[in-house]
């Protein structure tokens, strides 16, 4: 019995890969990289992908503001209606899409998400952006890149590259939603369950 319980515990065990201070440091680095690549971030618009991408986008905007002294517009881009797996699962509750300012035409849009996995979420986000306007360029910032891409998509800014197996789960926790900041690597969920 004890051995079984220990085994169960081992299966459920999650190991923190990034702690609160790591996440803060990683976001600061990404903010600097954005300023460097965009040469000042004057026309940058940050769009977070709900749920946790939105919180990350807000934090990045605050850091960009510290660095550049300018106010950086932040919004959210819900991609539920653009998913390619709508017919395979029950309909999902729709999140919030908010485009800051007038529009995104001619701006540099930086999409922000917590975990980059198959790339399908980002493909859906690119489709959604196409319906909203015509940005000058679109870049992608993610906190964790866990690999296993199913589409030719690559992030421009990566907080941490985390090579995983498909059996592993990556869970991002953020203060705003979960009460603490952490990236947890877990074992044991099946492939379908772990898929975003």
């Amino acid at each position: 019995m004890d051995a079984q319980a220990a085994q169960l515990q081992h299966d459920d065990a999650t190991r923190p890969v990034l702690e609160a201070q790591d996440i803060a440091r990683v976001l600061t680095r990404i903010a600097h990289e954005i300023v460097e690549r965009a040469k000042g971030a004057d026309d940058v618009v940050l769009l977070g992908i709900p749920t946790r991408g939105v919180f990350l986008a807000r934090r990045l905007a605050a850091k960009l503001e510290e660095i550049t002294g300018n106010k950086i517009p932040v919004g959210s881009l819900d991609i539920t209606m653009y998913r390619d797996d709508l017919r395979m699962k029950p309909a999902r509750a729709i999140g919030r899409t908010e485009i800051p300012g007038d529009d995104i035409d001619g701006r540099l849009v930086v999409l922000v998400d917590d975990v980059l996995f198959s790339g399908r979420t980002i493909r859906a986000a690119l489709d959604a952006l196409g319906d909203l306007g015509r940005p000058r360029a679109v870049q992608l910032a993610v906190l964790v890149d866990r690999g296993h891409r199913e589409l030719p998509i690559r992030a421009d800014y990566v907080g941490k590259n985390l090579p995983t197996s498909l059996r592993e789960t990556v869970k991002v926790q953020l203060q705003e939603e979960d009460g603490r900041d952490a990236v947890l690597l877990g074992q044991g969920l099946d492939q379908a369950g772990a898929r975003r």
Binding site: D78, M81, R87, K89, A91, R92, A93, G133, G193, A194
Partner: protein, 329 residues
């Protein structure tokens, strides 16, 4: 909720709030330069209209097209129905054509229920008004309009209409709008009062979750919203009131009566309005009257219903909690 939308009474509070919240997001699509989503691409929806209704049909059609569904419009007039084809045969024809959902309007109460439960067709059935029975999407769009105006666009998310006092005035007997609204508004926590001439109050109204009054002037000062119903002459087979003039004097809404309503109260009408009878032109054109807004909201609410019934492999409204968890994965 089942996989069909036949009656507003089928909706639980969670279902109803999920539909209204989803509609709020759908409404944002209407503000965009490209008012289209790829969500229902490749799905075929048939609008099966056995009874004329331009307003409801084009509202459904707009909603379906904004979600990229393929739309088949079927009007009974001039179709094989006028040659004597039965509802069953029509349904089986649609089934054979691989229709993914049917929106049905029928003059017989219960026709959508029959279509959904008889096994003639596998697709979800959405009731777009049946006889004097139900018109659930109308009730949803009315509730959506009230929540937006009385609670607020963003503040209303996740909420119902708790404690709001809603008055429905007029031809309750023939009104599917009244029946659907009483069911849904009660589910959402509102207090509903029906005001009608005694001849236009249905038998068995005491079992409905609402109050009945015969005096409009007494109810007006404590109403947050007043919905005027159309006097349905086409369904009237007897003299239910002496003259139009008398009806208008006792149950019509004019500016003097509107002045008795609280400052924030809305005037609603499901349309089409008979100006001068149920409502004066002055009231109909005032800022408080939400008729045009109701039409716009109708498209958003119908998009939400179509998305939730057709957007996944099974209806989301059966498991809203599970759907939400799924999103966070």
């Amino acid at each position: 909720m089942k996989r069909h939308l036949i009656s507003a009474a089928d909706l639980t509070r969670d279902d109803a709030v999920l539909i209204l919240d989803t509609a709020e997001e759908m409404a944002r699509v209407a503000d965009r330069p490209i008012k289209k989503l790829p969500t229902l691409r490749g799905r075929t929806i048939c609008n099966l209209f056995f009874e004329d209704s331009t307003r409801t049909r084009i509202s459904f059609e707009a909603a379906e097209k904004r979600l990229s569904a393929d739309v088949i419009n079927f009007a009974a007039k001039g179709s094989s129905v006028s040659k004597g084809e039965s509802l069953k045969d029509t349904a089986q024809t649609l089934e054979a054509m691989g229709v993914d959902a049917v929106v049905i309007r029928h003059s017989a109460s219960g026709a959508p229920y029959r279509l959904a439960t008889s096994g003639w067709i596998d697709a979800p059935v959405i009731n777009a008004g049946d006889g004097t029975h139900q018109h659930p999407t109308q009730a949803l769009l009315d509730a959506f309009t009230m929540r937006r105006r009385l609670v607020g666009r963003d503040a209303g998310l996740g909420k119902g209409l708790d404690g709001r006092r809603i008055t429905l005035v007029g031809d309750v007997l023939h009104s599917r709008v009244a029946r659907s609204n009483v069911d849904l508004l009660h589910t959402l926590g509102a207090e509903v009062t029906l005001v009608a001439p005694p001849t236009l109050v249905p038998v068995g109204v005491e079992t409905w979750p609402c109050e009945v009054s015969y005096s409009l002037d007494e109810v007006l000062p404590k109403s947050d919203a007043v919905m005027m119903l159309r006097v349905q002459r086409e369904r009237m087979n007897a003299a239910f009131f002496p003259t139009e003039r008398e009806y208008s004097r006792r149950y019509g809404l004019d500016s003097a009566r509107m002045a008795k309503m609280p400052e924030h109260a809305l005037v609603m009408h499901p349309g089409p309005m008979v100006r001068g009878m149920e409502i004066t032109a002055e009231v109909a054109d005032s800022d408080r009257c939400t008729v045009v807004e109701q039409v716009a909201n109708g498209v958003s609410v119908r998009m939400a219903v179509l998305y939730l019934l057709l957007g996944g492999s099974e209806p989301a409204v059966t498991t809203p909690a599970a759907a939400r968890t799924e999103e966070n994965k």
